[in-house]
């Protein structure tokens, strides 16, 4: 299919992009890797009046070492850039293990981490992973920069904290808590390859019990979420299989679980528990 007609601008700098965005507020849409937006436009499910293509703004593509195990990933870093980064692989190995399961080679070469979370597809893997990693999101507008925690960034299906005149510029990942390992486990809907359920876990052990846990789940509800009930049940437990299963059973507490013809709510809820358990087990195994 062919998109409806639209205007196109390719700013050379972030400042220029912000100016254009402010001017086109309401009808302008930011284009990064285009792996989500362009298919929607081709199906005419989205018909923005103007595309502001920030894809070639080099300053937004860098991956920076923030020291002491923390990393900043530019919004335009592609999945491939992140996979190729030894720094990310060392500091946040969950990304390196999960990204090969996202899309295909072409999607990973073009698609960006920033685009994935700005798009906020409820079945996208990256939101859950960034929630588990306790990321911060740097956002720019004409009024300057603000940095927000990832908790609260996702507000609903395809809805985020980003205002119409704002551009997401960087994803900042703090150092992993001492003694923690991380893992992502998912089950895919075979047609689309999107996760029916995906669970990211960053879990640490100290002195024989679980000392830290961030567990986040995608695909199950309108928006990726922190499974706080799982975390709460896990912290202070002995980390045995029984304790993990008991904690994982809370995976969908308080959530309105999605149901569609590929998988009903009952199955998604069950798989959320199964994959929470698997992700936590794998995270602890990685912690050593």
């Amino acid at each position: 299919m062919i998109p409806a007609a639209f205007d196109y601008a390719r700013p050379a700098s972030l400042d220029e992009a912000l100016t254009l965005l402010a001017r086109g507020a309401g009808s302008a849409k930011v284009l990064a890797g285009g792996q989500s937006l362009l298919p929607l436009m081709r199906l005419r499910l989205a018909s923005p009046g103007k595309l502001i293509d920030i894809g070639r703004i080099a300053e937004l593509r860098a991956i920076r070492d923030l020291g002491n195990g923390a990393t900043a990933i530019g919004a335009l870093a592609t999945y491939r850039d992140v996979l190729d980064s030894a720094l990310v692989g060392r500091n946040h190995p969950i990304l390196a293990s999960a990204i090969p399961g996202i899309g295909d080679v072409q999607v990973r070469n073009r698609g960006t981490l920033g685009g994935a979370i700005a798009h906020a597809d409820p079945a996208s893997d990256i939101p859950a992973i960034l929630l588990a990693l306790d990321a911060s999101i740097a956002i720019r507008s004409g009024n300057g920069e603000r940095v927000v925690g990832i908790d609260g960034f996702f507000q609903g299906a395809f809805a985020t904290d980003l205002a119409e005149d704002e551009i997401l510029t960087e994803i900042r990942l703090p150092a992993t808590p001492a003694g923690a390992g991380m893992a992502y486990c998912s089950i895919e809907q075979p047609a689309s390859g999107y996760s029916m359920v995906g669970v990211a876990a960053v879990v640490g052990r100290a002195a024989g019990s679980i000392s830290s846990a961030r567990v986040a789940i995608t695909g199950v509800a309108d928006v990726a979420y922190r499974a706080t009930a799982v975390e709460k049940a896990l912290i202070g437990s002995d980390g045995s299989s029984a304790a993990i299963d008991a904690a994982a059973a809370h995976a969908t507490d308080g959530q309105q679980v999605t149901s569609d013809f590929n998988a009903n709510a009952e199955y998604r809820a069950a798989m959320a528990a199964v994959h929470a358990s698997r992700a936590i087990e794998a995270a602890l195994a990685a912690a050593g």
Binding site: I2, I187, A191, M196, F261, N264, Y267, M271
Partner: protein, 689 residues
Amino acid sequence: MAAVIAETAAQAVDALEAIVVEWEPLAVVVDAEKATQPGAPQLHENAPNNVVFNWTVGNKSGTDAAVDSAEVVVRQRVVNQRLIPNPMEVRGDIGVFNPGTDEYTIWMSSQTPHIQRLLLAAFVMGIPEHKIRCISPDVGGAFGSKIFCYADMALCLFASKALNGRPVKWVETRRENYQSTIHGRDHITYLEIAGTRQGEITGLRVKTFANLGGRLSTIGPGIPTTLYGRVLSGCYKIPNVYCEVTGVYTNTTFVDAYRGAGRPEATYVVERAMDLFADEIGMDPAELRRRNFIAPDKFPYDNPSGLGTASNGEKIYIDSGNYEPAMDMALKTVGYDSLAKAKTDARARGKYLGLGLSTYIEVCGVAPSKWIGAVGEGWGAAMWESANLKIHLTGKVVLTMGTQPQGQGHETTYAQIIASELGLTMDDIIVQHSDTQGTPFGYGSYGSRTSSVGGTAAVKAAGKVREKARHYAAHMLEASVDDIEVVGNEYRVKGSPEKKKTLQEIAFALDLGFSLPAGMEPYLDETVYHDTPNCTWPFGTHIAVVEIDEETGKVDLVRYVAVDDVGKKINPMIVDGQLHGGIAQGVGQALWEGAVYDDDGQLLSGSMLDYAVPRASWFPNFELGETVTPSPVNPLGVKGVGEAGAIASTAAVANAVMDALSPFGIRHIDMPFTAPKVWRAMHDKEARS
């Protein structure tokens, strides 16, 4: 109905959005069985209860008696779900009208350009056949979906005429393909299999509701009748078989031939039935099959139920077969004796392992015209094939065929046949097809018929060329025709090997025609129309091994063994490729694929985001083996292989999944065996026990 014609595709899509249609929704029904029930919405006045036909085959009284008096009867409702064919290339046309000559030319993506010319001329547009030229170049896959006459073909031609000869192009999107190019399968079947506790099958009674869609496609009714009911007893000597098929209209896309076309549905019924029966009497499913195979000395086999007898009395016989060696080879390859250990080992890994057999036969190489053309066989046409073979002055060879490739490598296979028949190298041969201007009329390619029917036409054409060349060699060498022997491409005088002419030398002289014997016409140019005396009957044993994850219900295909007997192989690599693709599609039906409508008639699986076309990485390496029983039906001994993989594999995987689920007491669930569905079945059983 409205159509938009624009100068660019973007304009056309914009214009389409400007058309606002006010729909008045009517009640709809999408399920073939429900559509026949009282109170169901009625689609067409001339089809009360939405029933298009009730078709029966076999021996009703004998089967009723056999089933009603049997020691053991197993009954099961099985659904063979609706599929979308998914060729890589969607359909499209370019229509051009020439106002100067009143002639139409259409480029189409079709398996049957000659049939389309006939249908468009005589039945759709009402114009003379010689005023239409159909060209179908380089078709990018079809799987049956491009056999048929579609509205867009005539539309492009009418539009070009209305525009005074401007070419009009239409190419469907993938979404349009999903909604308006044919779908396949969609049967709801009630099967009853009867026999003794010792494992002798005595009867098979089948009632099927076949969903034909909202209106009939070109050969829609032929698929769930002739190509289904006639092979329902598979490779087994079941004395009493009876099948009733109700063809039904529903508010869905029309259903027609998709790879295998009727035979996968039949194989699914009989192979599931065999496993259900084996389970019921506690017999090994391989042993049950062994006891009921048609013995190798019984061919040609005339099915006692009358499955092979057409409405006009014409018969088709199962031409040949030797089923046990193929099954034994497959069982040995897969390590059937260590199945119990494999299951135990899998349990230790949190998996349920299952193994499934499918000892299939198929009827292909369609078909003897007097049989397939009989009323009630759903086709109403002949099915011969054509070939024209020319050897030009320079010795280069052009073979022109009425069959129509869609990516199967016909150019290679036919060139091999001619090279072998005439002692030439393949480099000197080209194969032409796909254009009604310049190729002899042919019925096209489907039903695994090209090598056996078209290939035989090519062999016969080569034989006529060789015979004429022999006569001309006698003239050139001043010898008697009876003294000319053919060795490779050399035509020699017996006993005087130095006196010889090559085929190329003969062609040069004969095509020039300066010196001709009395009564001989110049040129080596022979045309053959070949009607096959019988169909061909490939068979084999496919074995699938699956593992089911105990926590998620996800099914992984971990091994796949296939021993096929497709007769002689002209090009083994092409044969393997056909088997691989067919197996992938058949496994796809079992595990992932399904066209799903909601109750309002909306196609929920309307794109590849929701319809799971299998990826290569989901499959293990296929372990292929062969037995070779040459078909006696044609001089090549070939049978056809385009559909065998798709026909055999679905039932093998289904039987494997049921075997894996047997610890849960699960006897049958319907395809596709998606993780959520298998998980649900496992938990339902757990809840009950």
